[in-house]
Amino acid sequence: MSASPNHPIGKSVPRKEGRKKVTGQALYVDDISFAEMIYGVTVRSSVPRGRITNISFAGDTPWDEFTIVTAKDIRDIGGENYVALILNDQPYLADEVVNHAEEAIVLLAHPNKYLLEEARRNVRIEYEELPAILTLEDSVDKKEIIWGEDNVFKTFLVDKGNVDEAWTNADLIVEGEYFTGAQEQLYIENNGVIAIANEHDGVTVWGSMQCPYYVHKALIKLFALPEDKVRVIQTETGGGFGGKEEYPSIIAGHAALLSLKCGKPVKIIYDRAEDMVATTKRHPSRTRHKTAVTKDGKLVAMDIEFVIDGGAYCTLSPVVLSRGTIHAAGPYFSPNVRIRSSAVATNIPPHGAFRGFGAPQGIFALERHLDKVAKAVGLTPDEFRRRNFIQQGETTATSQIIREKVDMAGLLDRAFELTGYHEKRQRFAKENEQSRVKKGIGFATFMHGAGFTGSGEVYLASVVGAEATSEGRVKILAASTEIGQGTNTIFAQIASEALGVDSDLIEVAQPDTANVPNSGPTVASRTCMVVGKLVESAVLALKQTLVGSGLLREDYSQSEFQEACRTHIEKFGPLKTFSTYQAPPNIHWNDEKYQGDAYGAYAWAVYVAEVSVDSLTYEAQVEDFVALQEVGRVINPVLATGQIEGGVAQGIGFTLFENVVWQNGRMANNQMTNYIMPTPADIPPIRVYFEENPYAYGPGGAKGIGELPMDGPAPAILNAIENATGVSFDHVPLMPEAIMENLTNVLHGITL
């Protein structure tokens, strides 16, 4: 260890790019311009499914001034007209057929934004409409086959023990069905990209994005270019939440196609309405549970059927389904578990990544269902869970042995203490008899795996670099993006801790595929735990090189370290070290059987919500929220708390406010005035608590936290609403209309 007593891990080191952001100096993509730059727009389909019969360019638009791109242009340049991701079924531009409303068909570019908008309206596209599938139910029922042979993108089967034989050993079998709706990510900065493309230099794009190498991979195929002729640069990004995981590949391709054709830089920035109507949302879901228990409340078997609506193309649905499937059985031990899951096609815009990535849907269903099972077996929700919490050494649904210390019962005790749960449960029951406003308290207990599922991290084989600079600083080279969650800051803290130098001495390179290695996508709660660990090992390798070359003693001061960097560069040239992902020992995963160590580590959590439901206005409100979690080591308390608070707020939106209204396969309420995300007035106190149980293979002991807070709010709030009203709701978002419909009967004794 170095002589410098510098241990920033666990401290609230200020956000690295914070000053730029509060002075207006941070440059987001729309803040950047190039000489000669012109603008691009997208002309989209107005029908959910059909054959394109004619495209005409009408009106008094001076069409000869416009750059126009259609699918034919992709053929002409010898490119592949698909967005390279998993199944490559989604075209960049619809060719002959459209499979969802708002699918891109024609691209236009012009120097004048206002003329461009008029021109967009003057493109006439005629269709021969085809029958469309607009709901998950219709897709499952195969009312029409719209994708492949059976409308199914992907299925999984998790099978532990023998569920079919277990029913006979049960004292009680409880069934339930649960639904979750679509949810818009609603980052405040809309999607946008600038592209410069020409035959000589290839394609360069700047944009708001989470995953520069996803865009890189997609553009290589679209333009049939070698890797070094495509360059992707992430600009300051105003939030992502999954919404900028896969979609930027499409906008980048569109902008680059226009740029290649017109020979000028092209900027495409979506406005709010376009971003909401055309880009991805959280997958709607349906979960069916059939649960066998003994009369003393021990789980005997869990049979779970989990279906998500993937929209018109496969995109990331198989991966979302995977995470949702694995999380569907929660932090409980059951000897027999069967999870059958599928992602199905509908003719609506493809659903995609959104914080939690399938897990919030399955966890909502499970945590609602377990309250139902507890009631049926005559136990309180907490006592029932206590009898079934997974213990160290027991196995999850995928037969993963939990090797780490886990104490869900202890977390539950502490969460109840923090909220006065038992006292409130009793008091509310009494007070509610007399009062118009019914109060309730409920909770959810859950776990969330960090990093890619199963063998995912091994396949990714992420790389991080560390580069010494001639000023004696260290630059971290990674494609992991700062999107508000604190990547820059925690990478600097991790490197600083490992090297024993000030975190100010650590720079984090702008993600640019020409300069940084592929450290994998910025998703799946993996940036801190997985990529952070690579940052640690890359800088340690750099230190080792300096020590090995005799320029640095093992025990050094900061100035000696800086001097050694300078001397090394003078003597031997640039100094860069790289670290490649290696799986921790004892991680085994069987992709065919879907069995084994699904995740290297889990965060464990108990969330408690207190609600009030007005029996006159049918308004439900969250009054207090406690989020308690064990996340390994907390690297930066302010950033970590901010992640939890923000995730809980999104979770409250998912539960009570954010209702996507579909009309003929199209989002009808694509504005912030009629799609309501929580405002300052809607958010209760959110009290965040951490327990720390350092994870041996995370940097400084850290695990992942980004997605975790999205899992708990929906079931905790609906469990609390049941406690308040006596009515069990099985779907989110839960709007006042649904509360009214169900509550009038119960509270006023009206039978319809």
């Binding site: 200020p14 956000r15 952001k21 405040i188 105003g238 406005d271 005035t673 929580p678």
Partner: protein, 173 residues
């Protein structure tokens, strides 16, 4: 589309400014496209999110809903005018250091609304802060850290010591 440009004079971030622009442009577009001030952001262009907030004569307004023409003779302050040279406004310091800015895209709008609030009410309680900020949307923070940053800056501006929120001091020796 008329080619005639409008021409106005006004006070921008404490200095006299003159600018010519297409007369249909909003103040937001004039600031960004004709004056090159990129700190004021587009969020929704419909007055729904508060992201484009600037101060006009000390009052917060949505620059996406105000015509550039209407700025004639007014005193306009954007995020670029909030710091005093290299000296950050206390709100900018607390926003940067205590987690109120995450992705940072909504921060300019929140900062200016908070500045307006503290000028009117140097000692607002949590409810007053919530109400003042309720026209601005943030998707990252859940707002809690924004309230804390406003409270901390207000205390500092009053010359008072204030204990940092629990999370902010967590882990410090």
């Amino acid at each position: 589309m008329g080619k005639q440009k409008a021409h106005i004079q006004f006070v921008l971030n404490g200095e006299t400014a003159e600018v010519a622009f297409a007369p249909h442009k909003t103040l937001l577009e004039v600031l960004r496209e004709d004056l090159g001030l990129m700190g004021t952001k587009h969020g929704c262009e419909l007055g729904e999110c508060g992201t484009c907030t600037v101060l006009v004569n000390g009052r917060s307004i949505l620059s996406c809903l105000m015509l550039g023409l209407d700025a004639e003779g007014q005193d306009v302050k954007s995020i670029e005018g909030m710091a005093n040279g290299s000296q950050l406004h206390p709100l900018q310091e607390t926003f940067a250091d205590t987690g109120a800015a995450q992705c940072g895209y909504c921060s300019p709008g929140f900062l200016l609304v908070a500045e307006e609030l503290l000028k009117k009410n140097p000692n607002p309680n949590r409810e007053t802060i919530k109400e003042a900020l309720s026209g601005n949307l943030c998707r990252c923070t859940g707002y809690i850290k924004i309230y804390e940053a406003v409270e901390l800056a207000a205390a500092r501006m009053r010359g008072e010591e204030m204990e940092l929120p629990r999370a902010s001091v967590y882990g410090l020796e």
